[in-house]
């Protein structure tokens, strides 16, 4: 072939469908617009979708969303839910850290942790709620309990694995330069286990989020301020379907926001340090 002896111009770029050549953001925007379009079409042309008591249109949802944030009701509900979630995850993380410490110091500790995780981790967060209601009465403590249970096990397991799989050479280096005991744990083991810790935290956060909203729905507290679950419940009671949609939209947006937050956290730490696991 003459291409061996002659220099040819660069081979023609493989012809992709026009779609792939568009920039990422544009593709996303177009798809989003298409979804909203389909949504509106469904509302306009289907009997089920056209019933405002059953299904809200994009416009109604947007209005309810805007109003909800403007008058503060959605904001308060969101904050209330976040508050419970933060407390629950905080307690869960603390207990998980203690468990991990115990598990890394003794074989029986590890055995106990693995056993408890196997039994309790599969429980959906909301499943423990009736029990929690019995023990803690009709208070937020019951919800926090449910959240804590949903978050302890993923964090503990990830942390324990993280500690166990720390590179022994790093530990040897740490000892060599004079680190011992607690300092060795905080300055070497902890940062080394950070990828696992973050991974555990992401999982725990997701579980906790699902648990808190579901728990509020089950809980049904009426008076006073409530969280997003209560907001949705209330909207259902008064048949404010658009508000229900708006609340779901809020939850979705929050979910994306936290994904991004975690991404930033990871980029600043484990990605920057090249520690990201595959």
């Amino acid at each position: 072939m003459s291409s061996i002896t002659e220099t040819t111009a660069l081979p023609a770029r493989p012809r992709e469908a026009g779609w792939s050549r568009l920039p990422l953001w544009l593709r996303r925007v177009i798809l989003l617009a298409a979804i909203i379009g389909l949504w509106q079409a469904y509302v306009s042309w289907s009997e089920f979708g056209g019933n405002p008591l059953l299904f809200a249109s994009p416009a109604d949802t947007a209005t309810a969303f805007w109003n909800g944030w403007r008058d503060g009701s959605l904001a308060r509900a969101t904050w209330e839910t976040m508050r419970l979630l933060l407390i629950g995850v905080g307690i869960g993380a603390l207990i998980a850290a203690l468990f991990t410490l115990f598990a890394s110091l003794s074989q029986i500790g590890e055995d106990i942790l693995l056993l408890l995780t196997a039994i309790l981790n599969p429980l959906p967060g909301v499943a423990v709620l009736p029990l929690a209601l019995l023990w803690f009465g009709l208070s937020n403590k019951a919800i926090i309990f449910a959240i804590a249970n949903a978050t302890i096990w993923p964090i503990a397991i990830n942390l324990t694995t993280g500690f166990k799989t720390v590179n022994p050479t790093i530990v040897a280096t740490g000892r060599n330069i004079g680190l011992k005991g607690i300092r060795l744990v905080t300055d070497v083991l902890a940062p080394a286990a950070l990828p696992s810790a973050i991974s555990g935290l992401k999982t725990a956060w997701a579980f906790g989020w699902r648990t808190v909203v579901a728990a509020e729905l089950v809980f049904g507290v009426v008076g006073g301020e409530g969280g997003l679950g209560t907001y949705i419940n209330n909207a259902k009671l008064y048949l404010f379907t658009a508000q229900m949609f708006a609340a779901l939209l809020s939850i979705a947006i929050l979910g994306v926001a936290f994904e991004l937050l975690f991404g930033v956290l990871e980029r600043r730490t484990i990605v920057r340090w090249g520690m990201q696991r595959s």
């Binding site: 469908a17 026009g18 779609w19 298409a34 389909l38 469904y42 289907s46 009997e47 089920f48 979708g49 019933n51 405002p52 008591l53 059953l54 009465g137 009709l138 049904g220 507290v221 009426v222 008076g223 006073g224 209330n234 259902k236 009671l237 008064y238 048949l239 404010f240």
Partner: protein, 327 residues
């Protein structure tokens, strides 16, 4: 281009699946008169329907008609069922009925079932007045229930502010709330017959009665959509008469009705107990609606009726009810 076409086909398939699937819910197709779903909640207040169920009134009159009676835990569940067309006749409290009406559901009562004095029960002897309930946990069925409205009325009259007790309101079904009250997990329960009677038997006392604050008022009613009424006018009118007949039975033969209720409840409470309760002035079975407009305007005042307001009580009921000269 090929890939684009593929994507378009995929999307079209997805959309049609969704449309077809949900149109199964959608169609509020009033059923051809070969199936009808009647839903009510637990409680002796629904006795007229229970009587009709036991005596197979509808099945006998319309051979071939499939009649399904369903017991659902709350007015909200029945509301949802009626909006989506799965329930044709729903029996509920005036509260959820009015809220639905306000929010634009085109329904009216085809046959009110009773009036009832709703009692606010507490177990702790230290809770003697409404004022004692500030900051305490009070259970009502839902925020939109007639019971919640009555509580607000009590707060307004006694404490000057209808919202005064809102902070402690908890939504619970009657059976759950009764258990919680007796177990001490909640402080008070604004409920209805027979639960209030049962709670009193088990050591709770009456803190307040709705009649004292609101006057006599309707409690439960059977509701159908306008669409249903227009499509099956004769059936609906006859339904009214059947309910009225069942109600008459409670007055002419309470012993028999008590037995029916006992059997329906699975043996307990006893027929004797039911007979006592039927005779209790706190509950009166009647197809005459009382205080609907009063209830509506109060609920509207406390912000519980976002939407349209009925102009008169006749807007809330179908023609067979007009002659009762209700309010």
């Amino acid at each position: 281009m090929k890939r684009f076409r593929l994507a378009a086909i995929f999307v079209a398939a997805l959309v049609s699946t969704v449309v077809v699937a949900t149109s199964a819910f959608g169609g509020g197709q009033a059923v051809a008169p070969d199936k009808i779903v009647i839903a009510y909640q637990p409680g002796m207040g629904y006795a007229p329907l229970i009587i009709m169920k036991t005596q197979r009134t509808l099945e006998r009159r319309y051979p071939g008609l499939q009649v399904e009676y369903r017991v659902l835990p709350s007015g909200t569940a029945i509301t949802n069922g009626m909006i989506s067309g799965q329930i044709h006749v729903g029996a509920m409290g005036t509260g959820p009925f009015l809220v639905g009406y306000a929010r634009g559901i085109d329904w009216k009562m085809i046959a009110p079932l009773n009036e009832a004095d709703l009692w606010l029960m507490a177990k702790d002897p230290n809770i003697k007045t409404i004022g004692d309930l500030r900051g305490k946990r009070i259970a009502t069925p839902t925020n939109t229930s007639i019971q919640a409205a009555m509580l607000r009325k009590m707060a307004e009259v006694r404490l000057g502010d209808s919202k005064a007790l809102n902070a402690g309101l908890i939504a619970m079904d009657h059976p759950d709330a009764m258990q919680a009250l007796l177990a001490g997990q909640i402080d008070a329960h604004l409920t209805s017959p027979p639960f209030q009677f049962q709670e009193r038997n088990r050591g709770a006392h009456v803190v307040a009665r709705s009649y004292s604050y609101f006057g006599a008022h309707s409690f439960l009613g059977a509701v159908v959509t306008e669409k249903f009424y227009n499509e099956y006018t004769q059936f609906s009118n006859q339904l009214y008469r059947d309910v009225a007949a069942a109600i008459k039975l409670t007055k002419t033969n309470p012993k028999k009705v008590a037995q029916i209720l006992q059997d329906d409840a699975g043996g307990a409470p006893s027929a004797r107990q039911f007979k006592q309760w039927i005779g209790n002035p706190a509950i009166t079975y009647t197809t005459r609606p009382r205080g609907l407009m009063r209830t509506a305007s109060f609920m509207s005042r406390t912000g519980q009726l976002p939407g349209r307001m009925p102009a008169s009580w006749r807007d809330l009921v179908f023609p067979p009810v007009y002659p009762t000269k209700g309010s």
